[in-house]
């Protein structure tokens, strides 16, 4: 049994502004808070680039985990002001990670060479886990 695990808890609360009370309440279409929790087993032996606490991101797409392996889990925290954009196919940057946001997901055995990040302008700084 793998010893390395990652527990992820996610909570999403859709809300809707109610004029009479001048505040946000549960969204009337959805009506509740949404949440999930998962424990992901990752390999005990990871490449030295599977995590970093201080990675600069530029406008040039950069591979995070350089091991050339299949990735099953990713976490990126954007620590700086500029948005960071994530590609999982090596060329299309379809996920946006704003300042102070954490993006976390299980992946369907994505090639590490295709997991890249970049900014749209200037630089940013991230912490990440990209694990097999």
């Amino acid at each position: 049994m793998p010893n390395k695990k990652i527990v992820t808890k996610v909570m999403v609360h859709p809300t809707e502004f109610v004029n009479a009370q001048s505040r946000y309440y549960n969204d009337s279409d959805i009506g509740k808070r949404l949440s999930g929790k998962i424990t992901t087993d990752i390999a005990d032996s990871q490449h030295s680039s599977f995590f970093s606490g201080d990675k600069e991101v530029t406008t040039t797409g950069t591979v995070l985990n350089t091991a050339g392996v299949s990735i099953i889990y990713i976490m990126i925290k954007n620590k700086a002001n500029n948005d960071v954009f994530l590609s999982l196919d090596g060329s299309n940057y379809k996920t946006k990670i704003s300042k102070n946001d954490v993006f976390s997901s299980e992946l369907n055995s994505v090639s590490s060479a295709n997991i890249k990040v970049k900014t749209s302008s200037e630089t940013s700084n991230i912490e990440y886990i990209v694990a097999q």
């Binding site: 695990k5 990652i6 502004f17 969204d27 929790k37 976490m75 940057y93 379809k94 946006k96 954490v102």
Partner: protein
């Protein structure tokens, strides 16, 4: 699907840990979890995003309801009259299913696997299923440069059920 304004609050906690602790002469499985010795920290965020007040159509969200949510004065009784019970989350098979047909740009997406089989998600109209949702797991992301109708989902095996929000 129309409103004065809509806002989605979100937060994530990520805890990397090790299950066993190796001592000099034996390995024990502690009841407490120990932080991963490589990463040495946990991560988290808490924030919100404003989405469009009037969403594209009724399929912008599909969430499960609990019977406990239903009271005599609850708005959900109306939903039960207007829609079938099973429509309140989406059943999936191993064939990719488009969750919403709108071509409007997607801003925020949330998904949860309500079934027992793994769900795979695509953000390129079903060409590649790169995101994985194990049973009970939830995922959200902010989208950039993709339309609502590019989101597809399928069960990795057998059938499953998904709860989702696709906000513009």
């Amino acid at each position: 699907m129309s409103a004065v304004a809509r806002r989605i609050q979100y937060n994530t906690q990520v805890l990397p840990f090790i299950n066993d602790v190796a001592l000099e002469e034996e390995t024990i499985t502690p009841s407490l979890k120990y932080i991963d010795s490589d990463i040495k920290k946990s991560y988290g965020c808490s924030s919100f995003i404003d989405i469009t007040a009037n969403q594209v159509n009724d399929k912008w969200s599909s969430v499960s309801r609990n019977w406990e949510d239903l009271t005599a004065s609850s708005q959900y009784w109306n939903l039960l009259v207007e829609a079938k019970w099973e429509d309140m989350s989406e059943d999936l098979t191993t064939s990719g299913e488009q969750l919403n047909t709108s071509s409007t740009s997607l801003v925020f997406a949330y998904f949860k696997n309500l079934g027992s089989n793994t769900i795979l998600l695509s953000n390129d109209s079903g060409s590649n299923y790169l995101f994985k949702l194990s049973a009970g797991n939830a995922l959200y992301f902010k989208a950039d440069g993709i339309a609502v109708n590019t989101i597809y989902a399928k069960s990795a095996s057998g059938t499953s059920a998904i709860e989702y929000v696709l906000g513009i």
